[in-house]
Symmetry: C2
Subunit: 223 residues, 2 copies
């Protein structure tokens, strides 16, 4: 049985969970708070980051959300999430990296730091300026997803793909942390409503962190 080391609002773990959900791969959750840098966890993953997936029976340890997703793409035929032509797959991987790097750098990363880690690990209040910057960053990024969805059915092309799952993972964490203003982003809101009602997404939306809760619209699929 696979075990997934994660915490409820880690965007990279959510990306993995959405893929596993679509593919119907079972797993057990193990709660890990990477900011505590627990010795046994750092021994397993020298980067000290979630997600990590372990199949103890077979001695397999998978590290890094993209390496994990590529592993399940290669080993499970159901619900291919990196699909289409080679150029189409490159576009899906570009957008996946866009959310994991640019969106995380501008939005999810700062929000997690200000609203979650400062609260839980350091017991200090968030920096108002950093929060404003992250929310401004989110507006720019949703302008870009609106633009993409003006030209395409899904973010990466004509079918749902890893680009959508990764974007939804990051956006859902930003939304949980109060960083998304949905006004003026009708295209992205419509696309996101569709994803929110998928069986792979529902369990994620039901989970809560201690101390830090989401706004009331967060788990409503018809927000």
């Amino acid at each position: 049985m696979w075990q997934l080391y994660q915490f409820p609002i880690c965007p990279f773990s959510r990306k993995v969970r959405l893929v596993l959900g679509e593919k119907g791969v079972g797993y057990e959750l193990v709660r890990e708070s990477p900011w505590t840098r627990r010795d046994e966890f750092v021994d397993m993953n020298p980067a000290g980051q979630t997600p990590v997936m372990v199949d103890a029976g077979r001695g397999v340890v998978l590290i890094d959300s993209q390496a994990i997703v590529e592993y399940f793409e290669e080993t499970v035929d159901k619900a291919v999430t990196i699909n289409g032509t080679a150029a189409g797959r490159a576009e899906i991987r570009r957008l996946t990296s866009w959310f994991d790097m640019q969106f995380y750098r501008d939005v999810t990363g700062p929000l997690l730091h200000e609203r979650l880690i400062k609260r839980i690990a350091h017991r200090v209040t968030p920096d108002a300026r950093a929060l404003r910057e992250a929310m401004k960053g989110a507006v720019g990024h949703l302008d870009y997803t609106d633009y993409l969805l003006d030209h395409r059915q899904w973010l990466g092309g004509a079918t749902m793909s890893l680009a959508d799952l990764t974007a939804a993972a990051h956006i859902s964490v930003a939304d949980y942390l109060g960083g998304i203003d949905w006004k003026g982003h009708e295209q992205t809101a419509r696309w996101y409503r569709g994803l929110k009602s998928r069986p792979s997404f529902r369990p994620l939306l039901a989970e809560r962190m201690e101390l830090v809760g989401p706004p009331s619209h967060y788990d409503n699929p018809d927000f």
Copy 2:
């Protein structure tokens, strides 16, 4: 004909060039300095980053070094760089991400910022403390590659892989910028000497940036 937008000591572009060299894929270099944020370049890649690969004839644009490498893995059979079992390939991708993320964050990124971009774009001198931190970071990272090479023939396992090419790309840029102290890292030095003499690597080692040059041992395969 493929065109590769890059500058001589961009580690992500070097990773792509090493893969293309091993696979025997031809391409033309186009010089791009991402820190200038040239309009036409940002229009092509909204992330504003090198490398970008373009095949104008077929209208294909590839963005993000990992998306580019996966594209050529999928389309060119020669010299598979992500090889072995699914778990083995996951380990290669973990290490690739380790160098692209952790090594870049700790070593290559700060060195490029302090020694190249500050000099070329801002005409200011580097911060001595940041340089010391980056060099200390490099020592920790080479301790890790020494450890891996104590247990394995190559970084990712029994054969050369993308993990080695990516590590060599980053280490070569750090070495160019004077950030690597080879003393005490005999395992990694021996592995690196082997890579340096590969035909895919020689052209990279011959290239120079304006204003910022490498130390004398840099392109010597027997340093």
